[in-house]
Symmetry: D2
Subunit: 434 residues, 4 copies
């Protein structure tokens, strides 16, 4: 976790304080269920709730762990210091450490997912607003970085909206993947604890029960979770790459918002660099790097080995904190992106009229010229525009072979930009269904 790429709400989910609070909730709810089953005294279960509003002393727990080398025992020892050894006797009874650790980890991932889902919804709102704003702002569409046919800036925003909407859906499914808890004992047989305890604790924590666990919750769930984050990160890179291209000096169709106090470079004062989207490109790599180790974590030995743990101590917080920051930063970039419609038109006209060559080609075909011949007719005029800076419409009008089949008016009609935007509304209708 890099402080400059993190936001407090997500960081808080991963604090020791949050973790111990969740551990406590699990233990306290488990005691209630055990008391209901008559396994432990009702008063002992009630006594555990004395610590409900007590702040746990993280330093003290660390101190105990330094001796016991076991985090859950350290916590339970500290809890006993608060509620009294006698009352604490029944806490954790029949449970294994992983019951607490794994259920807690999933609670944290669920909370993280909730933030990521909210982040994505804000990003969607920004994208939708900008899409509508620039619904008919004409710009050239490019394939291979080369001018192709006109499109609109609104369609660009709309396709990012659609992509992020799919990501919203993926995040919701990812949340569901890890929204389970397990209180099933040392190897998952419930030998020492009734399944009713698991049911009670999970219900209280808003989790599904894990239908079958071993000592741990199966890690294919977490692999699927982090894989989803990797896809979202890749989409962030996609949007960022578009903006970086738009801001490059020769294109200049958009710029990230440039705050007053900000200095772009120590030496080149005029430079306005797309540093936010470049940064997002890097952050995407960071989120994505969690995917492979999460998949390598799936194959644990028998009923569990602990190799996954160190990996998750890292990627749990890091991937979610980084993605949360990235989604928020991208939302800010989208909201404030400065769009230059005039430059879009100027760029499109760099090779005068050439973007309409596809339409002319089609028109010739429809006039009965063979595909091969049409292609040659268009190509020879296009080359003069490309190489000599000629105007495509003028060239066509001067080409006897073209004029043999098309009128001037017909040619001019092929250069009408509205031709390209006639289905924008249909596409918007598909994307923004709500």
């Amino acid at each position: 976790m890099i402080p400059r790429y993190s936001r407090p709400e997500m960081v808080a989910i991963w604090s020791p304080e949050s973790k111990f609070r969740i551990w406590y909730d699990i233990e306290a709810h488990a005691c209630d269920a055990q008391a209901d089953l008559g396994v432990i005294p009702k008063e002992s279960a009630a006594a555990v709730w004395k610590a409900k509003d007590v702040e746990f002393d993280v330093a003290r727990i660390d101190e105990i762990e330094a001796v016991t080398k076991h985090d859950v025992i350290a916590f339970l020892t500290h809890l006993a210091e608060i509620i009294g050894n006698e009352e604490a006797r029944f806490v954790h009874q029949g449970m294994t450490s992983s019951d607490v650790l794994d259920t807690c980890f999933n609670v944290q991932l669920v909370k993280a997912a909730d933030l990521l889902i909210a982040d994505t919804e804000k990003l969607l709102a920004a994208l939708k607003r900008r899409a509508e704003e620039h619904k008919y702002t004409i710009r050239i569409g490019r394939s291979h970085g080369i001018h192709a046919e006109p499109t609109t800036m609104g369609l660009t925003f709309a396709r990012f909206y659609a992509e992020m909407d799919r990501n919203l859906n993926r995040l919701k499914k990812a949340r569901k993947e890890i929204a389970t808890g397990a209180i099933s004992g040392a190897v998952g047989t419930f030998a020492n604890i009734d399944p009713a305890v698991e049911e009670h604790v999970c219900a209280k924590l808003g989790l599904e029960i894990e239908p079958i666990s071993t000592q741990v919750i199966p890690r294919d769930r977490h692999a699927a979770f982090f894989a989803a984050l990797g896809v979202v990160a890749s989409s962030i890179e996609n949007v960022s790459t578009e903006i970086r291209h738009m801001q490059r000096t020769e294109v200049l169709e958009a710029e990230e918002f440039f705050s007053k106090g900000q200095k772009g470079s120590s030496a080149m004062p005029h430079k306005r660099n797309p540093v936010l989207t470049e940064n997002l490109t890097g952050l995407a790599r960071l989120v994505r790097m969690a995917v492979v180790p999460a998949m390598e974590n799936v194959a644990l030995w028998h009923e569990r080995d602990i190799s996954h743990s160190s990996v998750e101590r890292n990627i749990g917080p890091d991937a979610t904190i980084t993605l949360d920051f990235a989604l928020a930063r991208l939302t800010m970039v989208i909201e404030n992106l400065v769009i230059y419609p005039d430059n879009m038109i100027a760029n499109m006209n760099k090779f005068s009229g050439l973007v309409h060559s596809q339409r002319v080609l089609l028109a010739l075909t429809q006039k009965g010229v063979s595909r091969e011949d049409s292609y040659k007719l268009v190509q020879r005029n296009a080359m003069r525009v490309w190489e000599q800076g000629a105007d495509f419409m003028t060239e066509l009008k001067n080409d006897a072979d073209v004029m043999a089949v098309m009128s001037e008016a017909e040619i001019e009609e092929k250069f009408d930009l509205e031709y390209h935007t006639k289905h924008v509304d249909t596409i918007f209708g598909r994307v923004f269904k709500g």
Copy 2:
């Protein structure tokens, strides 16, 4: 694609013949829609169907491509050779190559997903049968590779079932991710082709329309698809790792089926190596390696660049063919896995009675001994078993401090194996809901 790790049905999906047939279907259906719209003559559209049952000449198409350096043009040229240049004039009108290529790729991925889904269903059937067969076959559960508490072989199969059932669900969602088609023209604006053509073609091919495309279908879909395959592969590694552990000489709780003609090793005739599951471990790595490049493919420049194409030419076939083979091989391994219940019991009893130490610990606590003291009592007797080969029950009965709070009968009750299997039926009920 490595021939020895492939099966013909999946390989066929990726053959040039299959690809050209799908291209043809797309073009022919598009002509129908164009004719319905009055854009091209009905007879021309009808003429295209003359090639419905003609086998395309792959070598001829390759020959044309060697000249034109363009695969779709090569195909269209060959199609014109079949149906006649005049009738072929209107084929592909208003479309761009990617309309064909991307829609075709998704059709192939959908077909591949269907096979993978069927594979997984077969694997599930095998796992379920073996789970029921060994529902109460006792074996020791292990954490960290160390004996923990008893469980059953049925539970092992059942948890693999549950994991693969989640994978079935992931594959179905992955299929949905890429079950879209796009016929939207050079930059996705439908400038030269009506959206109705896309709707018609997609409906005929069993695809959803892509709500908004550029020149290409957005690659976050494919990233999500290959990520799902990576999770499935990781689960295959998980199951394989369990079997490899079970087969190691010192454990010998199971063996892969050993066919009569098969020689284990050129030099050690007695060796029965778990080569199938070792192989599956490697195949899992191969499938998983498609995930990162698929994610790197998401950020295409503007309305498309072609960097994704070479990646997909590889991972499209390779990841699906390998996973199909791996799922089938794993199914065969599970179906034929030789289980040794006697060895399971012998292994469990290696340190006589020690696996019951957790129960004794709990019993002491329930008798009013403090957690710390109970721990010490259990530990000192357990260490004699561990270090001197003593019998745990005997040691406990000889320990005055233990006997001060527990009777012999109470101790013996703690060594009852049925204690550990009492919830197996509950767990089976959760897993095998149907």
Copy 3:
């Protein structure tokens, strides 16, 4: 392996014919050494060489393997068919299959490395030639995609040369990593075969002996090998990305060579797409994806498990064939890259004179103006260029505060392009040492 991204010489290394020929060489040389040691009869060793020029029947070997399920036994059986069962009795004596398989794999990797080294040397020659050709061809240097200060196209080629020269060095080291052989028996103890056999075979094959092997050659070597390929691939992506940027319509400082017959797009005849470098970007991802599984292959169980094998059957050929193709394709792109020096100048002058702002800033500082004030002076004039299309030099000359400390001549001197190229020769001297 995708045929369109492969070249015959590298493909040949990985053919069954090549493999069996290497197996044969290993077995035959081993027999010689065994005969020298007196372990097997001299005549038997000599008899093996009868097959020296015989072409092995791959189909026949496959047929035998289908029965024995063991590739080395299948080969030995076929060899016995050629040289006679009696003479073949002593072949492979004391050896284990992996002695043959692993040593063969390394021979193949060494051959592959030799081709990759030769490829890189050709690429270096092309880069050097183009660097010298454009040593003083001025273009704007860009950071963040934004104009910074002038540089030269020669420096661009020179830095790619330096990078590829480092890659040449990495490939040579990678070759050394895997240029070992092992003939050490079932667990690497030489129990059944004298170390002298290993020494003899390795000497004959141009390999070092593996100082200590198990059943297999340790896989950290292969991990290092494939990691090196991944770095080379990343550099290919780096060069390709530069060219793709140069070719985009708004920049147009270079174009990939466009052959006469080639059609850029079925619908837009004027388009010249940088498809080769886009393709190379994808191929880089393909090579790179071998790195992680190669690293996952390192941790084999005890003296070996066979999980690495399926991985290497794929990445061995695929990564080397793809990288060989990519290096050759990049060489061809570099050799034929069309450079547009006029466009470079035009691009640089897009914001008239602004690229010299850094020099003006420094000059003001040197005249005694504070860093803060200098910055403000430059910034206010630069903004007029940026926003209103003014000329930077003119603005400076009209700025009284600037003129208070600088003369017109001093300002003009700051716009001298030779100022930026004065150390080009020094840099070339560092890069092209030979």
Copy 4:
């Protein structure tokens, strides 16, 4: 960076204090060189050294950065607060931020590499000591997890020594890869700063000059560096996997040292889990995950984009800190590993005598029995050992077909364990050359 997996010396390299100290050194040495060139006043250069022993106020620098949004400017502003604005005027002249940032990053990586090299040397010493200690401690070698032929524990340690020795070599090369510095200005042309400054600063910092840089040092160097760390991590996983296997209950050939205060599990007091090597398995995944993003960082746009920066802020510290911790932990594990030679012998004899089957097979062949027949003879006796728990030697002696060609003494000789260790000394001589 996870505190529990980090050691102070490596953490210190990455502290803000260390970073600013290196920045200062770069700036101060650059001033000296500039003064020698007559570019700035000697007194100004001298004045910079006033801050030589001043502790920089990190909080103050952060405060300034919060306003300027630029870290190097913030530092320079703070430096000016220390040495006076007048004297500070000439600091950083002609330089660009990346000259400082990139050279600093490489200084940090060099320091990190030095620690990793020292770590590896300590690990080597531990492995060598244990190898010598157990040079002739017999254990069974295993392929596929199945007993193969005898080997020694010393050979196991020796092969890990050889692997780590190769890693030492890789780390030294990796150090060399990134031991360069660059002070070459905004696009690497030295337009505003003489190459002599770079030479002076690099010499003072113990770096090579970067022969050709852009705004940044080329990132293929860093990709190669992190790839090397990934290989080392994979070897750590390899050694850890061996130990985890040795410690599993059924094998118990070794145990990680178990300190007195440590509790293995809250519920199963007898359990001694190989948690350190399981943890190392996870840490290996964490180090390895830096490899792919480091490779994705290579392709920067033109003379630089800043996408690499956020990645490196993470993987720079995290990968080196984790690997340093892991190497030290593994050294501790190796030094204290408890070896159980008696259990090794007991395991080997699980299937009485079966490990000698390979020798018997060879002996039969040498007696003139055909390969096929020898195989069958060995197999039928081996199967009785395998299936009925018979003793292999006894079975052979009872097999008339065997006795027809071998004497009892000859059979007994095949069961001599020294046969397998006769070349151990040779192998040790190859591995421990020094």
